[in-house]
Amino acid sequence: NDEDADIISLKNYMNAQYFGEIGIGTPAQKFTVIFDTGSSNLWVPSSKCYFSIACYFHSKYKSSQSSTYEKNGKTAEIHYGTGSISGFFSGDHVALGDLVVKDQDFIEATREPGVTFLAAKFDGILGLGFKEISVGDVTPVWYNLVKQGLIKEPVFSFWFNRNAEEGEGGEIVFGGVDPNHYEGDHVYVPVTQKGYWQFNMGDVLIGDESTGFCAGGCAAIADSGTSLIAGPTTVITEINQKIGASGVVSQECKAVVAQYGQQILAKLMSQTQPSKICSQVGLCTFDGTHGVSIGIESVINENEDASAGLHSDGMCHACEMAVVWMQNQLRLNQTQESILNYINELCERLPSPMGESSVDCASVASMPSVSFTIGDKTFELKPEQYILKVGQGTAAQCISGFTALDVPPPRGPLWILGDVFMGVYHTVFDYGNLRVGFAPAT
């Protein structure tokens, strides 16, 4: 379903860190899968996968060796950005721990895009999202677990053991929550859009300061199949600036500050509705709720004059971000000069969309905390919790746990709270009451 495929398509499973084992067929054939709350299908490589190298590096399902196999044969395809998993549907029993889900439809993948899954440490993916985003309208494993009466409560929960060495990773619990894995009570928020485990989220704070962008509300998805936290560039840039993360210098952003900075500031100070400012200065058009790009391609590059008069999608977006950044600075009673200097600095810290940002490992202790407002409660992440270390000793590198993802309205602005967040906060997926709960993980 193309309309619903975008989030799944953007997933970077390569960074996923937590895997579990399931069995398919009788006797059970074992597969290592990502338990992914951001998708809803189960797929594993098929023994009929001949032309994808990735299949030769992973376990493959052999239907001929299962006495409970049920032929289906309908073709299936899931898009993942760099290509797609394709194959056909089959049915068989699926073993999850001691439970056996009978007659589960799943995808036998006969083609996997080369680089994406070749190096992957997992064989397949077990989606724990809603049926609404299930490719082929197949009933997800989780629904059959509930339908077949295999669990007491229609709830599952994740505990990621962040402090573990490679090997011991945590636990997924079907049927409830394990009180040993969290402290205090969970804060629950309702699922706002069935499909993903999506809910409404409030402001994001850096240290004690509001970033403003989500003060009026943002959508968020609790996604166990994503490693990092992805959010709007406007906020990630501010985080990057505060933690000294590497970024991309945007000439378009700098051009907006140089040419329109004073004008934007003046409009903010004269109480102009912020969402209308970028259209009023001529960088966007106004669609009734916010500025949208005029849609003219930019001709700006290092050797050309930004004042040539042609504006780009990027300048509209940069203007919209500048408005948010300036609002925050005005709230802090900063002078006009220092505001423009600060925005200019931010223009040098723009994250590459869906990319990584490096930080100085020696500075981690002095970085601010970043907090998310969920259900009127604040969920804080300390720097040692949102900075990931790759490698050991002198070869160690540190990368930010935040990455940029700009999803336009009406679906966005959107945050994807991946393992970095779910590692700190034990997460309950309450299917019966359609809500998601968070409590500090132990």
Binding site: S9, N12, I151, V173, H317
Partner: protein, 48 residues
């Protein structure tokens, strides 16, 4: 495994972030942006 409390627990294994997966992730990022950008209206125009 099933326990007396009726909960079904499945242990998870953890993989360290390594250079291979980061490299593959970066390739994915580059290819993905090119493919997905126009299709889903993602904003990538700020990269100069």
């Amino acid at each position: 495994s099933a326990a007396a409390d009726g909960l079904i627990r499945i242990g998870l294994r953890k993989k360290a972030l390594d250079e291979n997966s980061r490299l593959a992730g970066r390739l994915l990022e580059k290819e993905g942006k090119a493919l997905m950008g126009p299709r889903y209206g993602l904003r990538g125009g700020l990269e100069s």
